[in-house]
């Protein structure tokens, strides 16, 4: 340890020697504070402090994302072989291999681009690098389709970090969830690479161009097939046909096409368990988000009338980004409502709107992304109402006193 410590001390000393290199302090500091909890002591207020810090908080979220990441890698390979043929011959190693080649570069690009922006802003503003992007950097690849070009990941990440976060003042100041901002940016800027039937299975587009697709191969997601119920030419006959193609178990386990990390409800639940166990995520948001989605899906069940609306509510919630958004996106403490009462309303609104947008507006099969962004925008308003109630209570006490 002493040896490592010396390296950092020397690095700091070297930077401090010249006025011109002093501003690069955040570069060394960021790595130093990762490796060592710094020697800062309290100089104001409480002399002792809780052991928790932002680095640990963020790292626990990343750990909670690992099941989704690993399963995402596997499923990316699995879907590749399932749709393009060769599923029977492929071992799980092949699948992980194919998946790794797709997913890991995206993770690297996302972190690279995002941290670059963070470092640049840290150096310009002369502050240390804040930890917020550690989680965003992992979320961004996990909410992308498998075949999105790497340069788009980079552009979206840079856009999200600069416009979504840094212009507001950095970590803790943003209004919209950074990862969803990246996804929404690509969704509207490059819709052909973010939606449709050709981007979810890696290699699908290339195979189609080369006319190598097996007969009957479809790159559609479950949501895509569902949305087609709302159009004149449904991909499937009825709800039963859908349930035969995407069984509840497959949807729950996640062996269906979709964005890389979102498909497995089980992995999201494992992540949720860790986040709730460690108290990082708000159970209020997760609980009310689920209820909100369930209520909306049930309402549309009762309306019925087409293959989409007839799908049982619980199955509905297992597909698409609902679970992933609920566990990892809606719970972002910065962009969620801050008051405990507000969190219930915020979560319910997100889940409710998510299913509504997804089911009633087939142009946006992935309604969860938009719903959470809308809920983000509404969060301050929800808090305002909650706090105003508290203020009114105090004013009333003043009058009666």
């Amino acid at each position: 340890m002493k040896f490592l410590r010396k390296i950092f001390d020397n690095a700091h000393a070297t930077l401090n020697k010249k006025e011109s290199t002093k501003k690069f302090f955040p570069l060394v500091d960021a790595i130093d504070t990762l490796v060592f909890t710094p020697n800062h002591v309290t100089n104001k207020g409480a002399h002792i402090r809780d052991a928790i810090d932002l680095k640990r908080t963020m790292m626990l979220v990343i750990i909670a994302l690992i099941p989704c990441l690993l399963f995402g890698i596997y499923n990316t390979g699995y879907q590749h072989y399932r749709v393009l043929g060769g599923l029977d011959d492929a071992t799980w190693l092949d699948m992980v291999g194919v998946g790794s080649l797709v997913v890991l570069p995206m993770v690297v690009v996302s972190y690279g681009a995002g941290l670059l922006v963070e470092f640049v802003f840290a150096i310009i503003n002369g502050h240390t690098v804040h930890e917020g992007f550690l989680v965003s950097g992992m979320l961004i690849p996990l909410c992308m389709p498998a075949d999105v070009p790497l340069w788009m990941v980079a552009v979206a990440t840079i856009f999200a970090v600069v416009i979504g976060k840094e212009v507001f003042g950095g970590t803790g100041m943003n209004i919209l969830n950074v990862a969803l901002t990246a996804r929404a940016f690509l969704f509207f800027a490059h819709p052909t690479k973010m939606s449709g039937n050709e981007v979810w299975v890696t290699g699908y587009g290339d195979a189609k161009l080369a006319n190598m697709l097996p007969d009957g191969a479809s790159g559609a997601t479950a949501l895509g097939d569902l949305a087609s119920f709302m159009q004149d030419t449904p991909a499937l006959e009825n709800t039963q046909a859908f349930q035969a193609k995407y069984s509840f178990m497959d949807s729950f386990m996640g062996l269906i096409p979709g964005s890389i990390g979102e498909t497995s409800a089980l992995m999201c639940l494992i992540g949720a368990a860790l986040l709730l166990w460690t108290g990082i995520a708000s159970w209020r948001v997760i609980f009310s988000f689920f209820i909100g989605g369930f209520v909306m899906a049930t309402i549309l069940n009762l309306v019925g009338g087409n293959g989409y609306f007839d799908l049982p509510a619980i199955h509905q919630l297992m597909i698409g980004g609902f679970m992933f958004g609920m566990v990892f996106m809606a719970t972002d403490p910065v962009t969620a409502a801050h008051t405990n009462a507000g969190k219930f309303v915020y979560g319910f609104l997100g889940g409710f709107l998510g299913i509504l947008i997804r089911m009633v507006n087939p142009a946006y099969p992935e309604g969860i992304m938009l719903a959470i962004l809308i809920a983000n925008v509404f969060a301050p308003l929800i808090d305002h109402v909650v706090i105003q109630t508290n203020i009114n209570k105090r004013l009333k006490r003043l009058k009666t006193a």
């Binding site: 060592f36 020697n39 402090r49 810090d53 680095k55 708000s282 808090d383």
Partner: protein, 450 residues
Amino acid sequence: MKITIKKGLDIKMKGVSDKVMAEANLSKLFAIKPSDFPNLTPKLLVKEGDKVKCGSPVFCDKYNDVVTFVSPASGVVDKVVRGEKRRILAITILSDGKFTQLNSKVKDFSKLDRSELKSDLLKSGLWPLLRMRPIDIIARPEDNPKSIFISSFDTNPLSPDYNFIMHNKSAEFSAGLEILSLLTDGVVNLQIRKSSDEVFSKAKNVQTNFVKGPHPAGNVGVQMHKIDPINKGEVVWYINPQDVMILGRYSLTGAYDANKVISLGGENTDSPKYVKTISGSSIESILDDSIIKDNSRIISGNPLTGQKVEKDSFLGFYHHQLSILPEGDDYKFFLSEGWLSLGFNRFSASKSYPTWLLPKSKTYQFDTNLNGEERSFVVSGQYEKVFPFDIYPVQLIKSIITNDIEKMEYLGIYEVSPEDFALCEFVCTSKINVQSIVREGLDLVYKECM
């Protein structure tokens, strides 16, 4: 009344004082520090070299010169210690060891009317023992408080146990309570635990309230909030139980007798114990018999709200404990003992460390490391878990940061003081210094609205 505090946190520190009473060496130097009194501008009444007795005025409030601060010992004024811009930091008094009293005529306070009583307390120098909410400053003599609060127990980490200190001190305590009851039209609220000593549970002239729950249950701010919340325009006074005894001794003997017992605790002292001393004593005199480890931080007061002092400094006016903690100025490797360690020996109110899974009786080592770096607010809902007020703490703090006085009033700034936010500051993931922010807010509100 019975109240139960649900939100809060008992911080389990190593080094709680053993119930052993030790006599401190008599301090040669005493000091009164104007900085112990927030928002006070002192006006000197003595020069270096002047002779003083116990109870001789040393300085007064520049803007309200009836409030005087008196010498706890007899002797000569040794030094007027000044800081930047000639600010007065302390007035030190070289004791002659005799503790000659300026005044020792016993008065019958029950025959005085309230204004006479007030002017007597002001002259005697006992007045500053009374503090007020809102703003948390010395009580203003012109106010008529709606009630007076005394908390008979301290729930802060390493805090002194008043049941032990004040056992069998009923005479002095009840004489003090009698004076207090003459100062308000309302009641004197004495908050006790179920296990409180008779001196508290059988006290007269008070309304006793039972309080249950973790820290900050012992803070008067929380007790006021639950029992008799402060509205804009109202004033409540409060006083420490040992200071009530000082009032009581004055009533019984006419003397300014600032003797008190403090707890000496913390991991870096060899013998955590209780020490008999006098208000304003030098830290050196209190620590004389104890071995203090190297690289320690001496805190006058408790580890959450106290003040860092050096060995040649003095015990704070309102402080009833000294805490000796290890300085945390070392680097911690992230996996072994730093931010990503398993952390079985690191205390945390958050569930991200295993504290909450370990037995509740386990005590923890603490040092003064910040355990992280200061950040913007990121995590929400964290303060609320340890803040038993019907107030939104983060929103109130944000209104203070933005100097929005109207919002501060709406959000309840009149009900809080910095110490009420000490736990918020402790648990904060973003390591924001909340107590000093609240102090700034209170100072601003005092300047603009009162």
